[in-house]
Subunit: 238 residues, 2 copies
């Protein structure tokens, strides 16, 4: 995990909450107090239970956000990519991270310390507002996930997970989803076991709904897959 400096000014992640909120030159000067981290695939940069050290943003790369449960069983809560935010609430009462985060590929992170962030929020109301919208949005997603886990069958959960990563990470020119997850990771996201994920994917393959070679998956019939879980998604698009 070595360091290098990326400038918000020249950053291409226009959806980044910080970038979006920097208006005055003073704002931009403040933003330079951030620290950049290079993080290799598989590396854990947030550990549940350790003291909060500010907010992270993905400058480039992908990561998973998870909670570790009983007997080390992981529950993946979110998947994040360029421009997105990690590190729930590094200020206020909570002093410890409630989640862990691990890089899914070699990534570059931006880290704003608690102090810098508080300073920035005081000076930049728009940033506080953007953060609020971010958390509200995440809350919506999380609550949808609660329902999903409680009510869907395994097949539906796996389909939901595959459609989600398809939507979130997009596809390359061959139609393959732009992220490589292990079967275990898909299981950890879906809230089931590796074997069930494999069985479901096998079925979907033999039904012609998707194609996959190793970890590379492409969805053939998005419509029908969506249809299978449509009863669960009346009002939300995740």
């Amino acid at each position: 995990m070595y360091r290098s400096q990326v400038q918000c000014d020249t950053c291409s992640n226009n959806l980044c909450l910080i970038k979006k909120s920097l208006i005055s030159d003073e704002d931009k000067r403040l933003s330079q107090q951030k620290v950049n981290l290079n993080c290799k695939k598989g590396q854990q940069f947030i550990m549940e239970g350790t003291p909060v050290s500010g907010l992270f943003f993905i400058y480039k790369g992908k990561a998973k956000v998870l909670k570790t449960g009983i007997y080390g069983k992981e529950q993946i809560l979110r998947l994040v990519k360029n421009g997105e935010t990690i590190g729930h609430r590094g200020f206020g009462t909570k002093k410890k991270y409630g989640i862990s985060s691990v890089a899914l590929e070699d990534s570059i992170l931006c880290n704003f310390s608690n102090e810098t962030l508080e300073l920035m929020m005081k000076k930049i109301p728009k940033l506080t507002y953007e953060l609020m919208l971010f958390y509200a949005d995440e809350l919506n997603r999380s609550e949808t996930k609660v329902k999903t886990l409680a009510q869907m069958t395994v097949r539906e959960k796996v389909i939901d997970a595959l459609l989600f990563i398809h939507r979130k990470f997009g596809t390359n020119h061959k139609g393959c989803i732009n992220i490589q997850l292990s079967r275990q990771e898909i299981a950890d996201y879906s809230g089931t076991t590796v074997e069930q994920v494999i069985r479901t994917i096998s079925s979907l393959k033999s039904e012609g709904l998707l194609t996959c070679v190793g970890k590379t998956i492409s969805i053939n019939n998005q419509g029908q897959l969506k249809n299978e879980i449509s009863e669960h998604n009346f009002y939300l698009d995740q």
Copy 2:
């Protein structure tokens, strides 16, 4: 659902985000644009999928926040009491409620319209900040619930639910939990079925860990119950 006017000035809910954020006289004047609603037990005051009409606060009473799933199966996401907030993100991009909310007893609500709220947030940075903290906190809770639902057994989920309502709503002088939930509602919160809730409660009764008469429950051995689910709750207290 008839109307009457409660003043923030004289309100006793000191934890209310609005109340906490009102500093200047102008702030207080703004807060008078809210509307009060009287709501009977069982009445639904937010319906999933309908246009957002601002943020609600419980002035007095209790309510459940839920999502309706396939075949009408409910998933209760939160339980709220005096001073607490309902109505996720009535501003920004989302135009429809992603949740429903129903009064659990006769309640008085405060409702701030989208316009009033936006005006207030612009004028009162502390309010935006408080809202952000609120959503961040809720996100933590929700993500813990995701793990809970995905990893706990039915018995553990029911215990978790009972300990939660015990903690949240407290007990009266006889040690009985200050809220009356149907078995169905406990099931909807725990993410299981009525029968399982009943079976679990029966077991816990015969093990002497709790006592109950009808919907009135009191917990006898909180320590042992906590102990049963301790492996799942290393870092969070909900």
